[in-house]
């Protein structure tokens, strides 16, 4: 089987799920004939027609709300945010309406909200965001953020089949840079399970999305230069978090470094640190450390963006400090 990109893997999942289940449909801005700003839905319009690939007005509240209504009626909508940054417009609809619908009204709301996320692409403050924290904070929503093409496909299928709302963050830096061969058959990756991206003994790097690749680079370098054996855990699912996996790696290496691209304060690393602290304090030989973006809006000039976002060198330096603690 030929390799396909992270982006193509998402498209393939959408394609297969729409073929499998006539209740699945896509809705978003410019996703039809044009195939979407990043061409993720390219070809779906031709194949499934405008009834199932709906070009919407510029109305994030409108389409997320409409998806919820359709989901109540048994449909399985997949909503595209042209850039995930615009999910902020639907914050009320997602956190107040969608997230609570099963709990307060026993009303199922199986839907997926997906979109290009993340930086390292000179997108500036409104085309580079990582808004996962605000949604992981919301009971009733599930959140996934794949780092590999296999997971992009497998998690998308799981998200579409999930009976609750799943936010599916796609890292636009990975869209065309990551390739893989898809596992044969109906490839579904369960939501809530992390992945060991690299085995190690001396310390654990817990991360997700684009920084998984930077962590792997750092692990290579640390092995070569410092003879450190670094384990890299790719969370994949951010809500629910895989506590068993986090606990296992920390209790194994006794040193944890959390890495994410999101800003530091209020980012997921805090939550993960607290959980490690609660579940495995007695196993810790060093403080849990965080490598994150700086607490500023993401600037657009390369020199600025590169400084603000976490880089491989940062992970290496932090890991060395952690190992030396």
């Amino acid at each position: 089987m030929a390799e396909i990109t992270y982006l193509e893997a998402i498209r393939e999942a959408l394609f297969e799920e729409m073929e499998r289940d006539e209740n699945v449909f896509c809705i978003g801005e410019d996703i039809g004939a044009y195939g979407g700003a990043f061409k993720v839905t390219d070809g779906l319009f031709t194949k499934f027609g405008e009834q199932r690939v709906i070009d919407s007005p510029i109305s994030e509240v409108g389409i997320v709300g409409a998806a919820a209504g359709a989901a109540h009626m048994g449909m399985r909508p997949v909503v595209e945010m042209q850039f995930i940054d615009f999910i902020a417009n639907a914050y009320d609809m997602l956190t107040n309406y969608v997230a609570t619908s099963r709990y307060r009204a026993d009303l199922a709301c199986p839907m997926v909200v997906r979109g290009p996320s993340g930086g390292y692409v000179r997108g500036g403050p409104f085309h580079s965001q990582n808004p996962e924290a605000g949604f992981v904070h919301t009971p009733g929503l599930k959140v996934v953020y794949p780092a590999t093409a296999e997971d992009a496909k497998g998690l998308m299928k799981a998200a579409i089949r999930d009976d609750d709302c799943v936010l599916f963050f796609e890292h636009k830096y990975l869209y065309r840079r990551i390739k893989a061969e898809m596992p044969a058959g109906d490839h579904v990756v369960p939501i809530g399970k992390a992945r060991i991206a690299r085995e190690g003994r001396d310390l654990s790097i817990i991360t997700y999305a684009a920084t998984v690749w930077k962590a792997l680079e750092a692990a290579e370098q640390l092995e070569k230069d410092d003879g450190l054996s670094v384990e890299v855990v790719d969370l994949r699912s951010l809500s629910p978090l895989d506590d068993e996996a986090i606990q296992a790696t920390v209790r194994k290496t006794n040193r944890a470094l959390i890495v994410h691209e999101d800003t530091r304060t209020g980012g997921l690393a805090g939550e993960i640190t607290a959980r490690i602290n609660e579940s495995s304090f007695a196993w810790l030989d060093a403080p849990v450390l965080r490598v994150t973006a700086h607490d500023v809006p993401l600037p657009y000039a390369p020199s600025l963006e590169d400084f603000v976002l976490p880089q491989t060198g940062d992970i290496v330096r932090a890991a060395r400090a952690l190992a030396a603690y």
């Binding site: 409409a66 449909m75 506590d243 579940s279």
Partner: protein
């Protein structure tokens, strides 16, 4: 007083509807209603009022948990509009659409249990007052953020259209809710998609304390229709038959595949936003005038008797029936108790079925054992026995 409430006073031409964008149908549908149906309309209005009066009594006895919202003087707009739907159709009520929910099959017992936060209430004590729904019976529970139900109902009716079902949706918004972005995005999307959706704007003169004149600079809300490319019709919201007719026309348009309609129902909120509101902001005399000259039940009784030849006894029979229903429902409702604490943790997701009680909770060890994931996430209990 809001400039338009005068225009909307008892002097408003009753039973007729002013048009904007569509052609008026022939003989009004209401002329085809049977005597039973005419009396049924009265029953639902009376039931609504009697139930709310009962709720006031329970509220005064502090048996109601949270606020109490009245639709006094607006019963015709809820009942008449909901009556224009078929059983398979779905509506989304607002806080003052108790009448619409009753017409759609909500039980007074359910309403009473909701207001008293009983374990056996439709939401098991999770949501307030009439915030609940049942897609089988055809009403969807609202949430507090105003306007949000418009996009949701756009999606519900988009589904009807996509599946080629002969079903229509109806969503209520208040004069105040028309100012929300959700209202705008939802109706615009529904209009573009030609969803079979009727948007009923209940213009009752106020949003909480805010008069319509501070809500919009538009002369009337149906003036918004053309901006969405949909027909708009305004009607006397206190004339139940006029409400039924204007809604039925919109529902029929939707069934014929003509998409969205906006209906503006002119009515008046005689009580405060909620029971606690003393209405200090209402110009003196305004409420009395509406009560005196424009009460939807009084007006309809007059028509039932004068125009349709019902006897006062028949009317009283309905009043009696409503009272009986509410009395019985109250007795039953008062009997049941509050929800069990642990139920609070179930049903956030289908999977996992329940959240984990936190480790510091009294007797949590026992509770935890009852759950499938004793080693729950984020619990201190996971790394050793301490804290138990």
């Amino acid at each position: 007083m809001p400039p338009d409430t005068k225009r909307r006073g008892s002097t408003a031409d009753k039973g007729t509807s002013r048009e904007n964008g569509t052609a008026q149908a022939g003989a009004p549908h209401s002329s085809r209603l049977s005597r039973e149906q005419l009396l049924e309309l009265y029953y639902w209005m009376r039931l609504t009022r009697t139930l709310e009066e009962r709720l006031v009594a329970l509220y005064r006895q502090t048996k109601v948990v949270g606020g109490l919202f009245r639709s006094l003087g607006q019963e015709a707009d809820s009942v008449g509009s909901a009556f224009a739907l078929e059983r398979r159709d779905i509506l989304s009520p607002l806080i003052r659409n108790l009448g619409s929910m009753l017409v759609k099959g909500a039980e007074p017992l359910e309403i009473l249990r909701q207001y008293m936060a009983k374990a056996d209430s439709p939401t098991r004590g999770r949501e307030l007052n009439i915030h609940f729904g049942d897609t089988e019976r055809g009403f969807i529970g609202q949430i507090s953020p105003l306007g949000d139900m418009v996009p949701v109902m756009a999606g519900v009716t988009l589904t009807f259209r996509m599946r080629g079902q002969d079903r229509v949706g109806l969503v209520y918004v208040g004069d105040g809710a028309t100012s929300t972005g959700a209202f705008h995005e939802g109706i615009n999307f529904a209009a573009v998609q030609r969803c079979p959706l009727v948007v009923v704007i209940e213009n009752n003169g106020y949003a909480y304390s805010t008069p319509t004149s501070k809500q919009t600079a538009a002369r009337q809300f149906i003036d918004k229709a053309i901006g969405y490319g949909v027909p708009g019709e305004q009607a006397d919201g206190n004339d139940v038959l006029a409400v039924y007719d204007v809604t039925k026309r919109a529902v029929d348009r939707a069934r014929r595949g003509e998409g969205v309609s906006i209906i503006e129902l002119m009515t008046y909120r005689r009580k405060g936003h909620a029971e606690h509101d003393n209405q200090s902001y209402v110009p003196p005399g305004e409420i009395d005038r509406w009560e005196r000259e424009n009460d939807p039940l009084t007006r309809y009784i007059a028509r039932l008797v004068d125009e349709f030849g019902f006897s006062p006894a028949e009317i009283e029979g309905v009043d009696e029936r409503a009272r009986r229903v509410i009395d019985e429902a109250t007795d039953v409702a008062e009997r049941s108790g509050p929800p069990a604490a642990l139920d609070a943790l179930t049903g956030v997701y289908l999977d996992p079925p329940a959240a984990q009680p936190l480790w510091f909770r009294e007797g949590v060890a026992k509770v935890v054992d009852q759950h499938e994931r004793p080693e729950g996430w984020g619990t201190f209990s996971t790394h050793d026995g301490e804290g138990h």
